[in-house]
Symmetry: C2
């Protein structure tokens, strides 16, 4: 496999509105979409920086993955998503190389893209996502 670029960086925030204000007013970025991903119990806001998205994630439920992450580690960088030409093949290859997979096959993520996660215990503490293309 060979990632083509960093598709996005996921950042856990406690308040999406306040965080959007910071990314817009301080860093000069522009929020181009807000989306709720019910499956992940998150509300997300997207900003483009070059070819990479910043994806802010606010939990819609304390027992969702972002709610648990913030409780344990505090708000901050949550995961990195690598853009892959073929997420199915990339997950399969990672599994064959001994990586523990959260998703053995792709599922549908934000923006309707195919996604799959690798477990941070197999990726040196970095929650890693593979993300398809439109």
């Amino acid at each position: 496999m060979k990632p083509t670029h960093i598709e996005h960086i996921g950042i856990a925030v406690t308040n999406l509105e306040e965080a959007t204000k910071y990314y817009e007013e301080v860093l000069g970025l522009e929020c181009y979409a807000v989306e709720e991903v019910a499956d992940q119990k998150v509300k997300t806001a997207f900003f483009m920086v070059g070819e990479t998205k910043i994806e802010l994630l606010e939990s819609t439920s304390a027992d969702g993955p972002i709610g648990k992450f913030i409780e344990k580690k505090g708000a901050g960088i949550h995961h990195i998503a690598f853009a892959m030409d073929n997420v199915t093949d990339a997950l399969k290859e990672a599994g064959e190389k001994g990586v523990r997979l959260i998703d053995k096959t792709p599922r549908s993520g934000a923006e309707g893209l195919k996604i799959g996660f690798l477990h941070p215990k197999s990726t040196l503490g970095v929650l890693t996502e593979f993300c398809g293309k439109k």
Copy 2:
């Protein structure tokens, strides 16, 4: 200010050699440089993914910033660096907008680039770097 792209993502690792092996053999990236930054008490390895670098950081001393980070939070994503046309101006503007600065003026970072850090207490938990261009 307006970041042009994500210059790099800094990842704290406990063992640079083992981590390099993972990024090369599993993710298919290529380490193009290894560098020691004495000032930061780190040894770094660089990988290009599209326009963004992955910067792996191994502490050369337990009392360095990466050593302390790993002790507190474990290995994982450490910081995001935004590429800025002018780091001096960007730091000044962030300071004027109320952001607490670790570096009020730029200093020299890895690869000889001008860099400056914003404090995570002012950036919603994300250790944020501004990074100049060659």
